[in-house]
């Protein structure tokens, strides 16, 4: 019978994504969104085109702002938490028109 001697070597620090291994889509799928066909937030791409800082892209917790190759921004309203981060961090007047979705639609939290 052989036994492996215990080692005292430190284990590697876990990488942020070493466990959990969840895609962003799977993360967003944990929240329920009752989607309304009309977008409650509208982004005016013409105002965005000369914005180099793109605060909305990095700050939106649902990652709904996606830069396009032609320098614009594509926005997807369907998985919006309705938090307000995007219009608060945006420093271009008129780029984001922000409203709440029609009553009964949008995010429905359960365990938070």
């Amino acid at each position: 019978m052989s036994t492996t001697p215990p080692t005292n070597r430190p284990t590697e620090m876990l990488e942020p994504h070493a466990w959990g291994g969840m895609s962003f889509q799977e993360r967003m799928a944990t929240a329920e969104f009752r989607i309304h066909h009309e977008p409650h937030i509208v982004v005016d791409g013409s105002v965005c085109s000369d914005c180099s800082t793109r605060e909305c892209v990095v700050a939106c917790p649902a990652s709904l702002f996606v830069p396009t190759s032609d320098g614009g921004i594509v926005f997807n309203h369907e998985q919006c938490f309705e938090c307000g981060t995007c219009y608060l961090v945006c420093n271009r007047e008129g780029a984001i028109s922000w409203n709440y979705p029609e009553g009964g639609h949008g995010i429905v939290f359960r365990r938070t």
């Binding site: 620090m13 876990l14 990488e15 942020p16 994504h17 070493a18 466990w19 959990g20 969840m22 962003f24 993360r27 967003m28 944990t30 929240a31 009752r34 800082t53 605060e55 990095v58 700050a59 917790p61 649902a62 990652s63 938490f81 309705e82 938090c83 307000g84 981060t85 608060l88 961090v89 409203n99 709440y100 979705p101 029609e102 009553g103 009964g104 949008g106 995010i107 429905v108 939290f109 359960r110 365990r111 938070t112």
Partner: protein
């Protein structure tokens, strides 16, 4: 229930079925007023998210023995404040058995549960709750006084003697009414959170609690260099793990919120607590963080503002409270409205009882007392320099460097202060500020 005057649909419109709105509606309805509470979600609480701990003492007067029925997850009996660097952790831990017995102190709870429960009390008191209805604007008379609201339903106008706006952190109503002179991203933080499933007994074991006792851990550092803080709260069979991030800092540092949580969860001091937990719900919400500095005017003819809509959220480092401020401000708004309707004056003068109540109670007194705290806690020095300074000092205090003799604590502090790049004058000023804020 009173019969509203001709041309009015009801006495009081409350906008928003969160803790402020439900308490306002509860108080006004109990006084016999005809109250309509309008909630844009499919049920009260469905749009609401927070870190995870509620301190319901203020409910003692509204719902005696609320703890027998409130939908709580665990009673907080342990409070830890943790300071993190990349490789170090220092924790101050307190526990009290008293907080696990009536009348209790704080509890973890899910907002969709808590707010729904509270709204049920407002309904039982006679308030009518209209869900799935978004308020889109104010109706004002020729003098500018608020006399009702527009909603997004067909024939959606509703008129009342007075409107209580409890429409949350984005409060479009307070903005439309001009009660906010400005809103600035630097006054807000973004809270992002994961609700992570673990078996109840695993949570009991990892967090050293039992019998529905729970833990509240506030974390300084561990937010990937973005000014803010982290938290871990124990629910019954889930954990709430998240971060609160200063908006301009988040946008400037190009760090994604979910990556910042992932890095926090991977910290050697945190990873063993959350290992193997499955994500049940990812959520986010904006927090009004700047206290007095950002608060709007609280009343105008025909309207009052309460809860997050009035920026009544206390974010003072070791004290992170919002729901209790919301419930109290809603309650006081309800009381002031009863008074004003009795007196027949819904102008600024008639509604002045609201601000008086806020000023005379913890709602504004705590904010005044801690007015310097939010800025201090989110300042660059507290965020980026002090954690390493403190952690390195403590590490050297407890490190045994034989054959070298132990150095004096003062010498370590001096050296670590210099190494961290902290000026003595700044440290003294922050220390004095901290003392004035928290002392």
């Amino acid at each position: 229930m009173s019969t509203p005057t001709l041309g009015l649909d009801c006495d009081v419109i409350v906008v928003g079925g969160g803790p402020a709105g439900s308490c306002a509606a509860l108080v006004a309805a109990r006084a016999g007023l005809d109250v309509v509470l309008i909630e844009r979600g499919p049920f009260p609480g469905s749009k609401n998210m927070y870190g995870g701990v509620v301190y319901p003492r203020i409910l003692d007067s509204l719902i005696p023995e609320w703890w027998l029925e409130a939908p709580i997850q665990r009673w907080v009996t342990r409070r830890s404040t943790m300071l993190l660097t990349d490789t170090q952790a220092m924790t101050v831990d307190f526990r009290s058995e008293a907080w696990g017995r009536p009348p209790y102190n704080g509890a973890t709870a899910f907002r969709p549960d808590w707010d729904f429960w509270l709204a049920g009390h407002a309904e039982a008191a006679g308030a009518q709750i209209l869900t799935s209805t978004t308020v889109t604007g104010l109706i004002r008379d020729a003098s500018g006084a608020v006399v009702g609201v527009h909603t997004d339903r067909p024939d959606g106008d509703l008129r009342a003697r007075v409107v209580i706006a409890c429409d949350g952190v984005n409060s479009f109503l307070a903005k439309e009414a001009g009660l906010y002179t400005h809103t600035d991203a630097k006054h807000f933080t973004l809270g992002v959170k994961e609700t992570l499933a673990l078996p109840e007994e695993v949570i009991d074991e990892r967090f050293n609690v039992r019998d529905r006792q729970g833990v509240d851990i506030e974390i300084l550092g561990g937010t990937s260099g973005v000014n803010g803080g982290g938290f871990i709260y124990t629910n019954l069979d889930t954990l709430a793990v998240g971060v609160v991030l200063k908006l301009p800092a988040l946008a400037a540092q190009k760090a994604r919120p979910e990556d910042i949580i992932a890095t926090l969860k991977a910290h050697p001091a945190i990873a063993p607590l959350v290992q193997g937990a499955e994500l049940k719900e990812y959520s986010a919400h904006v927090i009004p963080e700047a206290g007095l500095e950002m608060m709007p005017k609280m009343t105008m003819p025909g309207m009052l503002v309460a809860g997050d809509a009035a920026a009544l959220c206390l974010a003072a480092g070791i004290w992170l409270e919002g729901v209790n401020f919301a419930m109290a401000s809603g309650m006081y708004a309800g009381e002031a409205v009863i008074e004003a309707i009795k007196a027949g004056d819904l102008g600024s003068k008639g509604l002045a009882g609201y601000e008086r109540r806020l000023r005379d109670t913890f709602v504004l007194r705590d904010h005044r007392k801690l007015r310097r705290a939010p800025k201090l806690v989110l300042s660059d020095r507290v965020q980026h320099l002090y954690p390493a300074m403190v952690a390195n000092t403590v590490e050297r205090m407890f490190r045994v460097d034989n054959p070298a003799p132990k150095p004096g604590v003062r010498r370590i502090l001096r050296e670590e202060r210099k190494r961290a790049g902290v000026k003595l004058s700044d440290l003294a000023r922050d220390g004095w500020n901290g003392f004035r804020s928290f002392g």
